[in-house]
Amino acid sequence: MNIFATVGRVFLAFLALTGRVAVFTADAVSHTVRPPIFWMTILKQMLRIGYFSLPVVGLTAFFTGAVLCLQIYIGGNRYGAEAFVPQIVVLGITRELGPVIAGLMVAGRVAAAIAAEIGTMRVTEQIDALTTLSTNPVKYLVTPRLIAAVISMPILVAVADSIGVFGGYIVATNTLNFNGSVYLRNTANFITQDDVVSGLVKSAVFGFIIALMGCYNGFNSKGGAQGVGAATTNAVVSASILILGANYILTSVFFAK
């Protein structure tokens, strides 16, 4: 087998896929400014994406904050820097771990659910049915989910940030003998607006990626149950990878010196 042909074919397939995703994205985004806008659907989706993800994201954030606190204490202890625990915990949570962990958890929960739902609608011809009822399926299905995810992810991450810091506080005061009020004062004095805002901007981007990958893979699923299963897997995997990639790019843009 010719290795150049294989590499070329994979590369061309990748370019074609990128093009299709770009066209899909442009179509979906263009509907955000073209009425009618389905407000009720957006609210319903915000509830599904944001509110119902709260338990799992909150729990994850709590344990992440707790373990972060423990590790930083152990590491800092080696050269007597354990007093910096609150500052580093809040920095790590707001800048990186809050948005990324929430993004990955929501990718697993929501991107999969969106892909399965829209994929099933595709294979049972419900998407064609929308067209015959003079409703644009992208406008009705995709755009509301994108809007809902972009709005609800930052709210979700703001809550997750607080819970993460709280998780660190619990460990620090209960097992590491930190003074509670000193811990909180150090946290509040150290944190800047940029730390929080950069994390929230990231989470909005992650929300967009999650909804987009769920919708795109669902929309293009074929076959039957197996096709929907594949779409669900692809949605979660592609959303997770794109989140991690986007996270690096956004971090290097925000904190470029």
Partner: protein, 262 residues
């Protein structure tokens, strides 16, 4: 164009419509015209391109070449609001019903009215219940979810949805597939009376010959992406076409080789 000139035109006309998916030629130059108020059935084996033909007319599938006109106007390449206006002429009954399972029955029926035409919800609900009555379903099913209904009832709801917005053209995709013979006959009667009473133009896809005879005045047979026979329903038994003969009698032996892939 005057109304009089319009009525003389065929309602739907396809000329030389071709479509291929990759290497597989699905439609190989379809020529078909359907008159106003006519009920046409397209028969043909699985994978002969029946569904793709209908999807081309609806613009869900874009043909590679050829022309499709409805009321004398070319429809390929319609976009935006023109396409919405065009699609308002149609109602479609899907093979599996394709009901939206997240919505109750009445919202399914009223969907095209609420989303497509901006009818107020309360009024749309009244229309939905009236259309459900037309297909023999009482108002007690209006608030059920489609998953709670049997296959035959789902088909009826699909039919009510197809006629909800008083379309000019209705497509029926395998309306009797998967139903018991009695329910199939009930659906056939519903389709025949709907087409007759509403004066709509209808194209149905089926491979159920009993159904085809009951709901159509004219039958066209599709084989390998071409129309190989087109004539009045009453003449189908004397078609003199070996393909048609084999199909309507359901024989395994004959000129038709069944497609394995679609």
């Amino acid at each position: 164009m005057s109304e009089e000139a319009k009525t003389k035109l065929p309602k739907i006309a396809l000329k030389g419509v071709k479509k291929r998916f990759g290497p597989k030629v699905v439609l190989d130059g379809i020529d078909l015209s359907v008159g106003r108020g006519e009920s046409l059935v397209i028969i043909g084996g699985s994978g002969s391109g029946k569904s793709v033909t209908i999807k081309c007319v609806l613009g869900i599938v874009r043909p590679d070449s050829g022309s499709i006109t409805v009321d004398g106007e070319e429809v390929s390449g319609l976009r935006g609001s023109k396409r919405d206006a065009y699609l308002r002429k149609f109602g479609m009954l899907f093979q599996g019903g394709a009901l939206f399972d997240s919505l109750p029955v009445w919202e399914n029926v009223a969907f095209g009215l609420i989303q497509g035409r901006g009818v107020a919800r309360k009024q749309a609900r009244d229309i939905a219940i009236e259309k459900l009555a037309k297909v023999g379903l009482g108002s007690e099913v209006a608030n059920l979810s489609p998953a709670e209904l049997s296959g035959g009832m789902q088909k009826r709801v699909g039919l009510a949805r197809a006629i909800a917005a008083d379309p000019e053209i209705i497509f029926f995709d395998e309306p009797t597939t998967g139903l018991d013979p009695i329910m199939a006959d009930i659906i056939n009667d519903l389709i025949a009376s709907t087409v007759h009473n509403l004066g709509v133009t209808a194209i149905s896809i089926t491979h159920d010959m009993a159904s085809a005879r009951k709901i159509s005045k004219r039958i066209a047979m599709l084989y390998h992406g071409k129309i190989i026979w087109d004539g009045a329903t009453k003449d189908i038994d004397n078609s003199g076409n070996p393909y048609v003969e084999q199909f309507i009698h359901g024989r395994a032996q004959g000129p038709i080789k069944m497609e394995v892939r679609r």
